[in-house]
Every structure is written in structure tokens, then in C-alpha cells.
């Protein structure tokens, strides 16, 4: 199966192109939308086959000996060989292949991407069925699969960048899917541009790598870097490269300071939030950092920054998540926070743990998002948790699966999130990063709190939708089920209140599968005090071949400490859950009460520390002002003063010489003409205009001259 590796990204691309072309043809030429069954057969089929191929390829990879688990296939030469002068004065042949690489790291990623991607494709059939842009949605979604698979399978930085930008594009298109809404268009644009800011870092890093190593191929770069010393004391080249790479990662993976786009990205359809903005795309930054472990591990300063930014993002986003009322926004901030965890793991040098969290997070966060999508659809496009409550009754499947996801993310033992989060916490502590451990530990409590707040507000308590003054009139897009289960519940006002309903099977089945995944996925990475060797780390070992040796703070054998730490983290998770239970279930606090009792703190959290406003004021408006100013400068100074000014000077000079010309040069001419005119009064009498009189004169003249001649010649 390995030799079909190139097909894995290609299939979704073909699917996307096919759907796009069919769709455009039908809409433009025939004037009708393409057949929905055809659309989702192509889309889901392409992803399903890609998923099977991935599993086959992973299976084949696993059957190789541990040290040889790398498969590379070159499709074609992308950028042909060109001489490139390196920093040390040598000439390298700069050449980039369009090539794919399967190793344990990309195996994990393609498994997550194709498997979760497949489930979300299936889910989308139900969720998007009534949408008028059905074909467009699947074309974009398939294109995303292509880009994401290219990202994780690329064997060099530039192919990774292809995927990197490609997923950004698809994210843009899918966030802006409901493009009639200005907010959706804005959010898409914001996502793309913020990502682009990060990408500048990535591009600069690539250029640095290329002029340092003469190649962008992972294997060659890392092998060469493997011979370099760790930059413990200095801020050297590797520190520079990794910092720029990390800037790219902060954009893609929504870390401080570039996290602002992700919450807004929730404007997109919910399956998109699940696939792109939770399970796969946003983890690309983590993937990249893990991939570049050979570089990062040799730049301790960068590592410290990565860990610091990661953990700061984790707690920062968690606090914002406390009091959000939009169900998807809570999940979005939770995603930012969890991504912070992953970077924390990378920053403290345990790349495997970071990747482990990527893997488990993909399951439970996709599950949570899809569950929230189910809730939103059941609530007829209501996302405000203040208008939910008591949904347990109406949508039992959604409730059950979401509860599992929430337990997983909270870190309850036995579920996927527990293993990965615990691994990170323990490694941070065991690696001697006590402060980072403490903050991450607090974040774990926060996570449990706000996630259970979500559960309690949504599924427990009194239904609040019944007394919602206005019935759901969302008319942006008519999804499924409108108008079917309308009952007249409103006593006083006579409006129809539509009761929530459970979602169709095509949505529930992916939820159940993901819920199972959220439970069992963690068992591949059980800590070494249970399974003796950590299977996950063992599997990933070849990826870290060129990693700098980590200075060991001697924590590995202290299993008792590890168990103690585990107990602690379970305890704080439990505390968070209890707090949420106490406030939102026992005391029946409503979202509206939060504001009253917390005041300024609430405002600060709810308004996301006003970061968006600060960015707007400091950067976006200043850039626009600069643009406006430069435009004025362009018109008035360069064009006005410079070009039109010299035009004016020229014209003035022209006018001046015009005056001179008219009165002096031309005056002299006119004087001559005037004189000629006067004289002509005398002579013009001769001009009769009659031909014959002229002929007469000629005749007379001829005779006169002839006579004179005869006379003289005598």
C-alpha cells in the first residue's frame, strides 16, 4: 500500500475538482444545483478511500523494522535545480521535489486527518443537507483534506508550506462559507491575514534553512542539524530559525499573540469548526514543531519561549472561556487552550507527549464540536447557551456523547484526554519546569470548570427556550427540519415555539464513533508505570532520531511521584467539575446572573481582555491610516507636487514662452507680414485672376525679351 501514498492526498483533490467542475457546470450551464447524492458520494467516497489507503500504508509501515520506518516517494521535481550560494560561501544545488514522506509522525497525522475527516464528512451530509451551497461545501472540504494531507505528508518544508497555505485558504473559504453575512467574510479574511502574518515567519525560517543547509528536505536538514551543538549559551542561527518557525506556528495554531482569528472562525459551519478549527488544521503548528524537533531541541531559548507562550495561551484562553455564552465560542477558546498545552509539551522537550495530545484532542474536540453542531441544529440555529437548558431530554444521544467528550477533555481517568494531559503535566513537572507545571495544572481545573458549565447550561436545568421571546427565525440558511415540529408552546403570545429535536442518524453515528474514540484512543499511550514501556513513545522514536539529547532531570523512574502528580491533576479536575456543578446545577445560576455577580472580572473575561479591540486600534486601523495617508501622499505629493507639479512648471514655462513667442518672435513675423500686406495693395492690381491676361503678359514678355535678344545679338 505504501506505493499508493501519493494517492492519499490526490484523491480528495480529485474529488474536490470533480465536485467543483460538476457544480460550476450545472449552475452555470444548466442552471440547477448538482445532485446532492452525487456530491456527497464523490466527497465521502474520496475521503473514505483515502482513509483506507492511509490505514493500509500505516499497516505496511508498521510491518517494517522500527529503524526503517520511513517511506519517501518523489512525484516530480517541483523547483528545478538552481545554484544557491550558502551563508558559508559554498554553492548548493537548490532543488525542491514534490515528494511525500511517511514515517511514524506523519502516520499519526494522516490517521487522525483521514479518520476524523471521514467521520466529519459523513456528519456533514446530515448537517448541511438543506444548505443551498451543498456542493460548494463538499468541494471546499475535500480540498481541505488534500491540503492537510499534503501538509503532513510533505517531505520538505516547501511542500509542508503548500499544505500550510492550502489549509489556510480552505479555512478562509469555509469560514466565509455563509458569505452573505459580513461577519463571516470578515472572520475568513481575518483568519487568512493573521495566518499570513505567521507565515512570514515560516517563510523567513525556510529561507534561513535553505541558505544554511542548502536544502529544504526534512531528512537532509535534520541530519545536518543533528551534528550541530545545542545553543545553550547563545542566540545562534538555530534559535533564529526556530523562533521564526514558531512564529508561523503561533499563526496556524492560534497561540498568543496570533490566536485572535480562531474564535471568530466559528462563523463557519460547525463541521468545519470541528474538522479544521479543532481536530486538524490548528494542530499543524504542533505537527511542524514536532517535525522540527531536531532544530527546536538545539535551541533552548526558543524552547523556553515555546513553553512559556504555550502555557500562557492555555490559561489565558481558558479564562476567556469561562463566561462565553456562545456554545461554539466556549469550544473555540477551549481549543486555543488545549493547543497551548500541546506547545507547552513541546516546549518542555517532550514532543511525543505534545503529539499525543494532538491525537487524543482530535477525537474529543471533534466530538464536542459535532455535538454542539447537533445541539445548534436541534435548537434551530440557536448558539446562545442562555437560551438552552434541559436539552438532555430532547436529544439523549447528543447529550451522552458530549458528556463523554467533556469528561475526556476534563481529564477524568480512563478517557483519552486523561492520558495525554497527564503525560504533559508530569513531563513538565518531571523536567523541572515547576512554574509551567503549576500554570498548566491550574488550567486543567479551569478546563474542567468551563466545560462542565457548558454541559450544565445546555443539557441540565429548566429549558429556557420556551420563554424565549422570539421563535427561531434564522433565515440565513435553512438547514434541516424547519417547520416540522412546531408546537404552540407560548401561552401568552401565541408565537410558535419549535421544540428541540434529536439529529438524524448520519450525524449521530459519527458522534458515537468519536465518543468511542475519545474513550479508547488514549490507551496506546499509557504511562510507563502501567505498561512498562510507553507504546506511543516507542512508536515515535524514529522521529526523534536527530533530537538533541535532553538533559535529564531524573524523573523517569520516580513512578511514585508520577502517580502522586496524576492524583493531584485528577483532583483539580474534579474540583473544577464540582464547582461547575455547584454553581450551575445546585444554585441554578443563569448566564445572566454571572455578569451581575462578577462585574469587572466578568467584563474582562467576556470581552476577551479586549485584545481584538486593542489589535484593531493599534494595528489594523493604523495600517489603514497609513494606507490612506500614503495614498494622499501619492496623489498630492508624488503625483501632485512631483508629476503634475513639473507639469505645471512646464506649462507655466510654456505660457511664458508663449507670451514671448506671441509678442516678440511672432510680432516680428507679423510686422513683416503687415508690411507685405501694405505693399500688396499696390501690386495686387495686376492680379486679375483671368488666365488670359496672364498669358497676354507672358506673351508680351516673351516677345519683348526675344526682341531684346535679337537686338543685342546683332
Amino acid at each position: 500500500m505504501l506505493k499508493y501514498l501519493w494517492l492519499i492526498p490526490l484523491l480528495p483533490l480529485a474529488g474536490s475538482a470533480l465536485i467543483g467542475l460538476i457544480g460550476l457546470y450545472r449552475v452555470r450551464v444548466i442552471g440547477r444545483k448538482p445532485n446532492k447524492t452525487l456530491v456527497h458520494t464523490i466527497a465521502v467516497g474520496a475521503v473514505a478511500i483515502a482513509c483506507l489507503l492511509s490505514l493500509g500504508a500505516i499497516h505496511d509501515l508498521m510491518s517494517l523494522p522500527q529503524d526503517e520506518r520511513v517511506y519517501e516517494t518523489v512525484s516530480f521535481t517541483w523547483i528545478p535545480a538552481t545554484p544557491l550560494k550558502l551563508t558559508n560561501g559554498a554553492w548548493a544545488t537548490f532543488k525542491v521535489d514534490w515528494a511525500y514522506r511517511l514515517d511514524p509522525l506523519s502516520a499519526v497525522m494522516i490517521f487522525v486527518v483521514t479518520f476524523v475527516g471521514f467521520l466529519i464528512h459523513v456528519y456533514s451530509i446530515g448537517y448541511m443537507y438543506e444548505d443551498s451551497g451543498y456542493w460548494r461545501f463538499f468541494a471546499y472540504l475535500n480540498l481541505f483534506m488534500f491540503a492537510m494531507l499534503t501538509l503532513v505528508l510533505g517531505n520538505n518544508f516547501l511542500i509542508l508550506f503548500v499544505g500550510w497555505e492550502g489549509v489556510g485558504l480552505c479555512s478562509y473559504l469555509l469560514i466565509g462559507f455563509y458569505f452573505e453575512k459580513k461577519s463571516a467574510g470578515d472572520a475568513g479574511k481575518k483568519a487568512f491575514i493573521v495566518n499570513r502574518i505567521g507565515d512570514t515567519g515560516f517563510v523567513i525560517a525556510m529561507m534561513l534553512i535553505a541558505v544554511t543547509f542548502g536544502t529544504l528536505n526534512f531528512e537532509e536538514v535534520f541530519r545536518a542539524a543533528g551534528a550541530w551543538p545545542t545553543e545553550t549559551m547563545t542566540w545562534g542561527l538555530l534559535t533564529g530559525i526556530t523562533l521564526f518557525l514558531f512564529l508561523g506556528a503561533t499563526g496556524k495554531s492560534a497561540q498568543i499573540p496570533l490566536y485572535v482569528w480562531l474564535p471568530d472562525a466559528m462563523e463557519g459551519p460547525t463541521p468545519v469548526s470541528a474538522l479544521i478549527h479543532a481536530a486538524t488544521m490548528v494542530t499543524a503548528g504542533v505537527y511542524m514543531v514536532v517535525r522540527c524537533n531536531a532544530l527546536f531541541s538545539r535551541a533552548p531559548h526558543t524552547m523556553a519561549i515555546v513553553a512559556g507562550i504555550g502555557v500562557a495561551t492555555a490559561i489565558f484562553a481558558a479564562t476567556i472561556g469561562f463566561f462565553q455564552r456562545d456554545i461554539k465560542r466556549v469550544l473555540a477558546y477551549s481549543t486555543v487552550s488545549q493547543l497551548g498545552y500541546m506547545f507547552t509539551a513541546c516546549g518542555v522537550g517532550t514532543f511525543a507527549a505534545g503529539l499525543f495530545h494532538v491525537y487524543t484532542h482530535a477525537f474529543f474536540k471533534a466530538l464536542l464540536f459535532l455535538g454542539s453542531g447537533s445541539v445548534i441544529m436541534g435548537m434551530h440555529h440557536e448558539q446562545d447557551m442562555a437560551k438552552m437548558g434541559g436539552l438532555r431530554k430532547y436529544m439523549p444521544w447528543t447529550y451522552a456523547t458530549m458528556l463523554i467528550g467533556t469528561l475526556a477533555i476534563a481529564g477524568i481517568p480512563g478517557l483519552a484526554g486523561f492520558f495525554s494531559k497527564d503525560e504533559i503535566l508530569w513531563r513538565a513537572y518531571g523536567g523541572g519546569h515547576k512554574i509551567i507545571w503549576f500554570v498548566a495544572f491550574l488550567t486543567a481545573g479551569c478546563t474542567a470548570f468551563y466545560m462542565f458549565r457548558l454541559i450544565f447550561l445546555t443539557f441540565f436545568g429548566q429549558p429556557r427556550f420556551l420563554d424565549a421571546a422570539e421563535p427561531a427565525e434564522e433565515s440565513h440558511h435553512s438547514h434541516g427540519g424547519h417547520g416540522q415540529d412546531t408546537v404552540h408552546g407560548g401561552v401568552g403570545h401565541g408565537h410558535g415555539v419549535r421544540l428541540p429535536h434529536e439529529s438524524p442518524k448520519s450525524m449521530i453515528i459519527p458522534l458515537v464513533v468519536l465518543a468511542v474514540g475519545s474513550i479508547v484512543a488514549g490507551y496506546v499511550g499509557m504511562p510507563s508505570y502501567i505498561t512498562h514501556t510507553n507504546l506511543w513513545e516507542h512508536f515515535l522514536d524514529p522521529v526523534f532520531r536527530y533530537q538533541a539529547p535532553v538533559s535529564d532531570h531524573g524523573g523517569h523512574d520516580a513512578a511514585s511521584t508520577e502517580i502522586l502528580m496524576t492524583a493531584l491533576s485528577v483532583l483539580i479536575a474534579g474540583a473544577g467539575i464540582f464547582l461547575a456543578y455547584w454553581i450551575y446545577n445546585r444554585r441554578k445560576t443563569q448566564p445572566a446572573d454571572e455578569q451581575r455577580s462578577l462585574g469587572v472580572v466578568y467584563q474582562c473575561f467576556f470581552n476577551k481582555y479586549y485584545v481584538d479591540q486593542i489589535y484593531d486600534a493599534l494595528i489594523i486601523h493604523r495600517t489603514k491610516d497609513l494606507g490612506t495617508g500614503l495614498w494622499a501622499f501619492d496623489r498630492n505629493v508624488i503625483d501632485g507636487l512631483g508629476v503634475n507639479g513639473s507639469g505645471w512648471v512646464t506649462r507655466s514655462l510654456g505660457r511664458l514662452s508663449g507670451v514671448f513667442d506671441k509678442y516678440i518672435v511672432d510680432g516680428a513675423v507679423n510686422l513683416l507680414a503687415w508690411m507685405a500686406d501694405r505693399f500688396s495693395y499696390i501690386f495686387r492690381r495686376i492680379q486679375t485672376g483671368l488666365v488670359q491676361s496672364y498669358a497676354m503678359v507672358i506673351m508680351v514678355g516673351v516677345i519683348a525679351f526675344f526682341s531684346l535678344y535679337m537686338y543685342l545679338s546683332k
Binding site: 517541483w78 550560494k85 541558505v211 542548502g214 545562534g236 500614503l630
Partner: protein, 544 residues
């Protein structure tokens, strides 16, 4: 030399449009359809005739081994001046000629319904313009080059002045005078070289290859570089000589904008690659700041052009003007690559000329499509076009992405090679780093434009009944889209023509031993020495 029907191929390609020009002049002005068909067929024929240029490009019998120029035509012309009729192309001009014949055809095709009055003159001038452009790219004699360079001006002037929109006369005159001022200075530079060559060798010639053979004194190079710079920089246009461009673009008819952006601007960049840098290597190094010994004037101007153009584009209210300012930014990239004078950068710069021709040409065509329907270019007049014109929106998206350098499309290859190549020169590295900002801004203004025109509800009732692209209009984009993907995915088809000419230019500018300072790559990457640029107090032993 390759002959088609007994005529040297370059002459044929160059003068077929001229023949078309005369044929159209002979046609009755009332038989509009005949005129349109003639012009379209002639332009298509010219494109088809240019294809053999690629097919037998590497045939050694058409190649002058000494100069590596192909299909050479060299006959004495004005012997008393030493001017020759000297045509020949290398990889750089090959790509530009192909771009010209392709865009020329598309421009003619796109005008089918756009032009309603003075149809005969319009098509005649378009074809005349085509000959001028092709001749400029083929000429290897400065005198001949100058003649073609000036021939181009006149039809363009009329195209803007007669068939343009509101301020067409202002724009046309501005375009004409601006460019003429530049080209006169360029002529002075040419004459200075001509006389100095004569002084040194006793032979007077305008032959560019000959002029490249000898070195000119630095004092002369200094002034000639400035003269050439003004001439070419106006054409490019580089900051601060760019202000004719938005006006000319905005007011030109669609086909005029396409040709203007697609080909005419490339005359400037081409001038630098073909004449500026190889003829004046010392002055080039001095003004570019290669080696870090002098102030990097050119780099500053490129960077200012990139960022300034992008920022100004951001705030435009006029669709066409926005695209015009984006050209300033993109050509800043081209010039950055060309001035960086490293093999990767110059290849990228030349490729980016082609890319810009394709993507900006297409963007102007796209503006033209809606302008023809609505007769306004104000962005605020549009919105929600995705609903009404899905095909249009799709094509616009692809071209936007090509313009902002999405990997997989052409713009990325060019931009990346330019940046990477510039980066590889340690003294110019910083400029590459700064230029990256231009990419962010590029995404910002193009996506904002896309959002404002394509996204949102259809708020303007006038837009509700717009027709999507018809077959002819859509057909114009097919070659552009194909080429965009082709260059983006398999650029070596195009880059392999650039290797040799670019290396020649680079070794002219940087001296031929630039390439020789080579140590084996294996040593460079795997040696356990400390990384270049790292300052390490005591050197720890490498791990593993």
C-alpha cells in the same frame, strides 16, 4: 536560422501583426465583423507562429554558440551609424514573447463587444502595438530597440486617449510624456555608451552584444546607469516614478490595461535584465549595494515600492486602481529579484514577470467584464457577485490566489524564488526579510477586495440581473488559468529556459569568479563546525 514560408521566424512573428494592421486599414470601416475577425485571426496566427520558437529553441543549428542567442537575424541597416537590423532571442525574451503573443490574442479577443466606436482604428492600433512589443523583446541592437520602444508608445497613447474612460486624455498624455521623458534619457545613455565604445575601439556600433564585451569606466557607468534607471524605472514602474500607472490603467480600455500590465511594464524589467545590469555591472553593484560598500538605493526603492504599493492599494475605492497599485507592489518584487543578482533571485524575478502578466492581466480582464456590464469601477457598487456570477467569482478567486502567492499557483514560485535568492546574498538578506511583509499586505488588499465585491448580500439592485461570463469571456481565462497552475506546479518547463541567460547576467554583474568560489556541498552541510553566524565562546563537541 529557422524559416517559415521562407521568412525568418522572428521577422514573421514580429511583423504578422503589422501585416494585420495594414489589412485592417484596407478594410471598410463599416464592415465591423470582418475587422474583428481579421484582428482575432491575425492575433491567433501570431500566437500559433510563435509556438515553433519554443519547439526548436534548443536546436543547436538555430543557436549562436558564442552568445547563445537563437534565431538570429543580422543584416546591416544604417551602416553610417553602425546600426544593424539585429534580432535574436534567449530564454528570457522567449518567455516574454510567448507572453506577449498570448496576451495579445486574449486582449484582442476580449474586446469583441467592449469597443463600439472606431472599431477599425482600435484593432489596427492593437496590432501595431503588438509588433512594437515583439520587436522590443527581439532587438539586440540598441538603435533598433529604441525604435521599437518608441513605436509602442503611439498606439498605446491612442488606445488610452480614444477608447478610455473619464479622464482618458489626461491619462494618455501623462502616460506618453512620462514614458517619453524616460526614454529620451535612456537614449542619452545609449549614445554615451555608443560614443565611449567608439572611443575605445574605433568602431561605432549599437550592437548590444558587442557593447557588453568591453568594460566602461565607472564614471560613465554611473551616469548611464542613472539615465537607464530613469528610463526603465518609469516603465516598470518603480517608486517614485509610478504615478502614471494608476491613471493609465484606470482609464485605459480593458484590453489596453491587459497589455499595459501584462507586457508593457515588463519592458522596464526586461530593460534592466538585458541592458542595465550586464552593460553596467560596476554601477549596478554600486547602486544596488552588493557587497555592502555603498548605499543600497535600488533595494530601498524596491522595498518602498512593494510596501507602499500594497498599502496604497489597500485603501483604493476604485477596483481597477487597486489592481494597478498592486502592480506597483508586484513589480517591486520583480525588481528586487533582478537587482539581487543571484541565480535563484533573477530566475524568480523573470518568472515573476510572466506570473504578473498572467495574473494581473486576468484581473484586469475580470474588472473589464463587470465594467462592461455595469459601467462603474467603484468597489462599493458591487457586492455579493458570488451569488449572481458563480463562474466569474471562481475565476476571480483563482486569480486572486495567484496574485497573492498561494503555493500551487504561479505567484508563489516567483515570489519564493525572489525572496530565497535575495536572501542568499548576506548583504541583501535584510531586504528579503522586509519584503515578506509585502506578502501579508498583498493578501490583505486582495482578500478585502474579494470580500467587498464577491461576498455579502446583493445590496445593489442593479447587480441582480448581471449575466455570468459567456463562452467567449470565459474562454479568455482558460489559457491563463492553465498556465497559472502549470507554472505553480511544474515551473521547470519555464525555468529551464532561464538557467543559461540568468547565469550570464549574474556572472556579468558579480564577475565570472562568483560561480567559482564553490566548495563541495557535503562539506557545507554535514561538517560539525559551528553554524555560520554563530558566536560561540567555547565550542562544545557535537553530540551523537
Amino acid at each position: 536560422m529557422l524559416h517559415v514560408m521562407g521568412i525568418p521566424i522572428l521577422n514573421l512573428v514580429c511583423y504578422v501583426p503589422l501585416a494585420g494592421f495594414f489589412i485592417i486599414l484596407l478594410l471598410d470601416r463599416k464592415s465591423v465583423t470582418a475587422i474583428k475577425w481579421t484582428a482575432n485571426l491575425v492575433a491567433l496566427l501570431d500566437f500559433i507562429l510563435s509556438i515553433p520558437l519554443i519547439l526548436s529553441f534548443n536546436n543547436p543549428s538555430y543557436t549562436d554558440p558564442l552568445t547563445n542567442f537563437r534565431y538570429i537575424i543580422k543584416v546591416p541597416w544604417i551602416t553610417s551609424l553602425g546600426a544593424q537590423y539585429y534580432f535574436g532571442i534567449d530564454g528570457i525574451s522567449l518567455l516574454l514573447i510567448m507572453l506577449t503573443t498570448l496576451l495579445g490574442f486574449i486582449a484582442v479577443l476580449s474586446s469583441w463587444t467592449a469597443i463600439e466606436h472606431r472599431v477599425k482604428e482600435y484593432y489596427a492600433l492593437l496590432l501595431l502595438l503588438q509588433t512594437g512589443m515583439l520587436g522590443t523583446f527581439m532587438a539586440l541592437d540598441f538603435f533598433l530597440f529604441y525604435v521599437f520602444w518608441e513605436i509602442m508608445l503611439v498606439p498605446m497613447y491612442f488606445l488610452i486617449g480614444v477608447w478610455g474612460s473619464e479622464r482618458r486624455l489626461y491619462s494618455a498624455i501623462k502616460f506618453f510624456l512620462y514614458t517619453l521623458a524616460g526614454s529620451v534619457l535612456m537614449l542619452l545613455g545609449i549614445l554615451a555608451l555608443y560614443f565611449d565604445y567608439g572611443r575605445q575601439t574605433g568602431v561605432y556600433t549599437f550592437n548590444v552584444i558587442e557593447l557588453q564585451r568591453i568594460g566602461f569606466p565607472f564614471g560613465l557607468q554611473y551616469w548611464v546607469f542613472l539615465a537607464f534607471f530613469v528610463g526603465f524605472a518609469i516603465k516598470v514602474p518603480m517608486f517614485p516614478f509610478h504615478t502614471w500607472l494608476p491613471d493609465a490603467h484606470t482609464d485605459a480600455p480593458t484590453a489596453g490595461s491587459v497589455i499595459l500590465a501584462g507586457v508593457l511594464l515588463k519592458m522596464g524589467t526586461y530593460g534592466f535584465v538585458r541592458f542595465g545590469l550586464p552593460l553596467l555591472p560596476d554601477a549596478s553593484r554600486y547602486f544596488i549595494g552588493i557587497g555592502g560598500k555603498s548605499f543600497p538605493w535600488m533595494m530601498w526603492l524596491c522595498i518602498i515600492g512593494i510596501i507602499y504599493g500594497a498599502l496604497v492599494a489597500l485603501m483604493q475605492k476604485d477596483w481597477k486602481r487597486l489592481v494597478a497599485y498592486s502592480s506597483v507592489s508586484h513589480l517591486g518584487f520583480c525588481m528586487l529579484g533582478i537587482f539581487a543578482a543571484t541565480p535563484v533571485a533573477v530566475q524568480g524575478g523573470v518568472l515573476q514577470m510572466i506570473n504578473h502578466g498572467l495574473s494581473t492581466g486576468a484581473l484586469f480582464l475580470l474588472v473589464g467584464n463587470v465594467y462592461e456590464r455595469r459601467h462603474t469601477r467603484l468597489i462599493s457598487e458591487y457586492g455579493g457577485l458570488s451569488h449572481i456570477m458563480p463562474l466569474y467569482a471562481t475565476i476571480f478567486l483563482i486569480m486572486t490566489l495567484s496574485s497573492i502567492g498561494m503555493p500551487g499557483l504561479n505567484g508563489f514560485i516567483g515570489e519564493f524564488m525572489i525572496l530565497q535568492g535575495t536572501f542568499s546574498d548576506p548583504t541583501l538578506r535584510i531586504w528579503s526579510g522586509v519584503a515578506v511583509v509585502g506578502i501579508v499586505l498583498g493578501a490583505a488588499y486582495m482578500l478585502w477586495l474579494f470580500q467587498r465585491t464577491m461576498f455579502g448580500e446583493v445590496t445593489n439592485p442593479k447587480n441582480e440581473l448581471l449575466d455570468d461570463l459567456n463562452f467567449r469571456e470565459a474562454f479568455c481565462y482558460v489559457p491563463l488559468i492553465i498556465l497559472s497552475f502549470w507554472i505553480g506546479l511544474y515551473p521547470q518547463t519555464f525555468l529551464r529556459y532561464l538557467d543559461d541567460p540568468v547565469n550570464r547576467v549574474v556572472s556579468k554583474v558579480r564577475g565570472s569568479d562568483y560561480f567559482k568560489l564553490s566548495i563541495p556541498v557535503a562539506d557545507a552541510t554535514t561538517s560539525p563546525t559551528v553554524a555560520p553566524g554563530t558566536v560561540v565562546a567555547d565550542r562544545p563537541a557535537p553530540h551523537r
